[in-house]
């Protein structure tokens, strides 16, 4: 039988605020355990949560960016369950009236564009961390993370393959970083994903029973975990079994998912409006203000790069994958005065390769935009060839010198003295009568041999265009 996969994702993004969603404790990552957990975060009696305006602001920014309805009136609710990293016995979340209503995000898989619906996004508080290493048979609890603002973004079950799910997750990751609402650091848990996966016979309208895979925290694992889960469900059904609704954990070491708890018991959260918090009101003016301040979004930037700079999709996609990279490109372009294609190729080529190798982000690039612009300008005005430029770039990566300094110091300037080039061409023609004969009898391929010889003799410092022109003229004599 042919099966169809149905996937919906719930993504938790930690909002990049300085203080917690309901208290004035710091959200900075990596502090000593419990040094950033105040009375509110600990759930001590008598405390009152007060909502952080920046958490609301960031949620509205996100809503605007996905063209969602922003609820002018939203309500916090208590989600009740017991776990030691949640000291109050409930998580403050939103149920009936979330801050962000239906919106959408467009993804691209294998060149085909697809619109993924976003059901809602709601504000809530993060829980602390339980450490299960052995503390004499006890569990250790660190509540520094408790109360960190989260925006939980829930998609519609619109994805039909693990590939689409990864594309959606990447797109969302790119977007929250563009908007500067989340640092996107997956190792530190700033961006976490749960996947709802089910299968159904192709053509069937009703959804199959779904399993939820929890906390898959890298793009690679999301794809593997979902594919594994699809296989598990199909095999189960085809051998006469039934999928049960449950939460499963992905084990990246064994590459398998295993049952964590069945939904019936865990899902009885008994939500009710939190009497400690009043409804949040968002005015039309406020929404318009936020909208006016939105940065250019990745998709729009990509189309602009296509149009304005005549870049192909591949270059435009890479350059707009982060705001910083796009800014770097546009700065180099402006400072060098070179063609957009030359700048794009160098940034997505040499520079990206070097950054990847050194595991650096564009902001950490040892070659600043000024220095790269200086190098590209010298290619553009024929001072050096592209080949020599690669040598100069390697040197620039290691030293703080400018391209001009390196070119001068190492004598890499292209030889434009046609007399010098002519002398070498004459010598090579004289030294290789056999090849000259071949060329003249119509073997055009031999031409490359002559170019190579001349360039070798000149240590790459001749302008290839000039060499070609002069060689052709000489060989025809």
């Amino acid at each position: 039988m042919e099966w169809e996969t149905v996937i919906g994702l719930e993504i938790h993004t930690q909002l990049a605020t300085k203080s917690k969603i309901f208290s004035g404790a710091s959200t900075a990552y990596g502090a000593a355990p419990n040094t950033q957990a105040c009375a509110v975060d600990l759930g001590l009696p008598g405390v009152l949560p007060v909502l952080n305006e920046e958490a609301v602001h960031k949620a509205v920014i996100f809503g605007m960016a996905i063209e969602a309805e922003i609820s002018h009136y939203s309500v916090f609710a208590r989600k009740n369950y017991f776990y030691p990293d949640l000291p109050k016995g409930y998580q403050i979340s939103q149920m009936e009236l979330p801050i962000v209503g239906p919106g959408h995000l467009d993804i691209e898989v294998d060149g085909v564009s697809k619109r993924i619906g976003i059901t809602r996004a709601h504000l809530e508080e993060d829980a602390g961390k339980s450490l299960h290493e052995d503390f004499h048979g006890l569990t250790g609890v660190d509540l520094n993370r408790a109360g960190t603002p989260l925006l939980e973004i829930v998609s519609e079950p619109h994805m039909r393959s693990a590939k689409e799910a990864v594309a959606y997750m990447r797109k969302l990751h790119e977007l929250v970083r563009y908007l500067d609402i989340c640092d996107g650091n997956m190792q530190e848990g700033s961006f976490r994903c749960d996947a709802n996966v089910s299968v159904r016979p192709k053509g069937q309208k009703e959804f199959g029973t779904r399993a939820e895979i929890k906390n898959i925290n890298s793009f690679k694992f999301v794809e593997k975990a979902i594919n594994h889960e699809i296989e598990r469900q199909i095999e189960l059904i085809e051998t006469g079994g039934k999928v049960v609704q449950e939460t499963r954990l992905y084990d990246s070491v064994k590459d398998e998912t295993r049952s964590m708890r069945s939904k019936e018991e865990a899902n009885d959260y008994r939500y009710f409006p939190d009497p400690d918090l009043l409804p949040v009101f968002i005015s039309e003016d406020y929404k318009q203000q936020v909208k006016a301040q939105l940065p250019e979004l990745p998709q729009a930037k990509k189309y602009r790069f296509n149009e304005q700079y005549a870049l192909d999709d591949e270059n435009a996609n890479i350059l707009t994958s982060s705001r910083q990279l796009a800014d770097y490109f546009e700065t180099v372009l402006k400072e060098s005065g070179c063609e957009a294609k030359l700048c794009a190729n160098w940034i997505t080529g040499e520079l990206s390769a070097a950054l990847n190798k050194a595991r650096l982000e564009i902001m950490e690039s040892p070659v600043s935009h000024e220095r790269l612009a200086g190098l590209l300008a010298r290619i553009s005005d024929n001072t050096i060839s592209g080949k020599i430029a690669k040598q100069v770039f390697e040197e620039m990566w290691r030293s703080p010198a400018t391209a001009d300094e390196i070119i001068a110091e190492r004598g890499l300037k292209q030889i434009t003295d046609t007399g010098a080039i002519e002398a070498i061409i004459d010598k090579i023609i004289a030294d290789n009568p056999g090849q000259v004969e071949q060329y003249r009898s119509g073997k055009d391929k031999v031409f490359g041999f002559f170019v190579g010889q001349v360039m070798k003799e000149m240590q790459g410092k001749a302008n290839p265009g000039e060499v070609n022109k002069m060689l052709q003229a000489k060989l025809k004599q």
């Binding site: 605020t17 203080s19 355990p33 309500v75 006890l138 409804p279």
Partner: protein, 95 residues
């Protein structure tokens, strides 16, 4: 609407409340009475009435995103039953 004794036990379990077996019957009766009252209220026509999220007719005041809390770990941990290496210790929980 009437709650069964099993439902009462389930609710108690979810809320982590210890209740005596002999009291289950009377809890079921009392809680059923409350639910009946709500059922009666549900009969009212509330068309055009906005659902009430809070008895106070006000909206939430927001605080500026500023760190105002100091590290008071020592004071908090002085009243905790058991701590080690800065962590609060609790009976082992394994997923």
């Amino acid at each position: 609407m009437s709650l069964t004794t099993d439902e009462v036990k389930k609710i108690a379990h979810l809320a982590r409340l210890g209740i005596d077996e002999q009291d289950v019957e009377s809890y079921a009766r009392d809680l059923s009475g409350m639910l009946d009252l709500m059922a009666r209220m549900s009969e009212l026509n509330t068309e055009g009435v906005d659902p009430m999220a809070h008895p106070m007719d006000q909206v939430q005041r927001l605080r500026a995103d500023v760190v105002t809390e100091q590290d008071n770990r020592e004071k908090f941990q002085a009243i905790a039953p058991q701590v080690e290496a800065g962590l609060y210790l609790v009976p082992k929980v394994i997923e």
